[in-house]
Symmetry: C2
Subunit: 211 residues, 2 copies
């Protein structure tokens, strides 16, 4: 979208830049109207011309964080790769992107985790979008005979759970030294070759209950 | 171990009870020497007769938290269940135990998560013990032909990653409504039926690298 920015849009983008600057220099607790107004050389009241609330501003910062990852997901979805490869790329590209952010500044990465936790409402739509795209890939895999016997929603939930450490920044930040693209690939292969709703007979554990 | 407690042991146990009381009533930030001494009706200096440092006290609280789960792991390991069933019980029993704690008091559960994060050094030995027991189960599964082509350490790491949401309290606290024993069983079945180091040929994604 190379349309020219209006003054309002440009002001909004500049404020996002400044919020990110505050987050990366001083942590999320320092993101206050006073601090932001000082950096923007505006009165606190003028900030409200650009964002009607702090929540709206945080939502815009979340948008900046997720935008490249949404683009990655859409590129993978639009490709003509087979479903297994699509699922790998779906996770791997975003994982590599997040690892770069973490490598550049682990403390800022931790701050983004905390912000996401505190403002989950502003993040939820991206989680839902990710589930939607994942469901599309799983649907294609099902058409090829994978995940036999599972409902689509059940398969989405199981795949989310089994790949959680490569996708959710909270746990990821502590595990980076143990996370690799090679392991992710083994997990995706295990999903495609092992995850199903088929009855395993006596050898399986599905259906057991803990006493 | 039903040996009679010495006065020192009894005092230590009582202080752990009081720390848990403070955590559950007021959160981890309220665990201070002053607060604990007041509840124990002791001088702050007397506390050091029982624990030489706050770290030693936190370690004792971690011991109380992990003790029932260590017992669960040891019971599963000592059983003559087949390896797949052992792995399921290894995770499921602890998951059900933690879910009960969360259901009783989600805020206290969050406090335990924060404490574990802040004092990871006091928790590490339990994580290592869990890895050791998991390695034993995986070794038994390998003897039955599972996880073919994987090194033991690699298999431990992959299984840890794929089951992370059923074992690590940090991510677990946000996911409880989506976590079930039935899904855990499907994940364990997927692991046993799909996870290996075998070459999948053209269909597999192992060995790919993100550009």
């Amino acid at each position: 979208m190379a349309r020219p920015l209006t003054d309002l849009d440009a002001g909004r983008e500049q404020l996002i830049d400044l919020v990110i600057e505050i987050i990366e220099e001083r942590g999320s607790a320092a993101v206050t109207v006073t601090e932001l107004a000082a950096r923007a050389q505006m009165s606190p009241a003028s900030l409200y011309r650009y964002y009607e609330s702090k929540e709206a501003l945080i939502e815009a910062v979340a948008g900046r964080w997720f935008q490249p990852m949404v683009a990655m997901m859409e590129e993978v979805l639009a490709s003509d790769l087979p479903p297994r490869r699509k699922m790998y790329e779906f996770y791997a590209r975003r994982f590599v992107h997040m690892r770069k952010i973490w490598q550049r500044d682990p403390v800022a990465f931790k701050t983004y985790c905390e912000l996401g936790e505190e403002h989950f409402e502003q993040v939820r739509s991206y989680v839902d979008l990710g589930d939607h795209y994942l469901g599309t890939i799983i649907g294609e895999a099902m058409a090829d005979g994978h995940f036999d016997g599972l409902e689509l929603d059940e398969a989405i939930s199981l795949v989310n759970q089994m790949t959680s450490v490569y996708c959710n920044i909270g746990p990821m930040q502590y595990l980076f030294p143990k996370l690799t693209e090679a392991k992710l690939a083994r997990i995706v292969d295990a999903l495609f070759d092992g995850l199903s709703g088929q009855d395993r007979g006596a050898k399986g554990v599905t259906g057991l209950r803990v006493a």
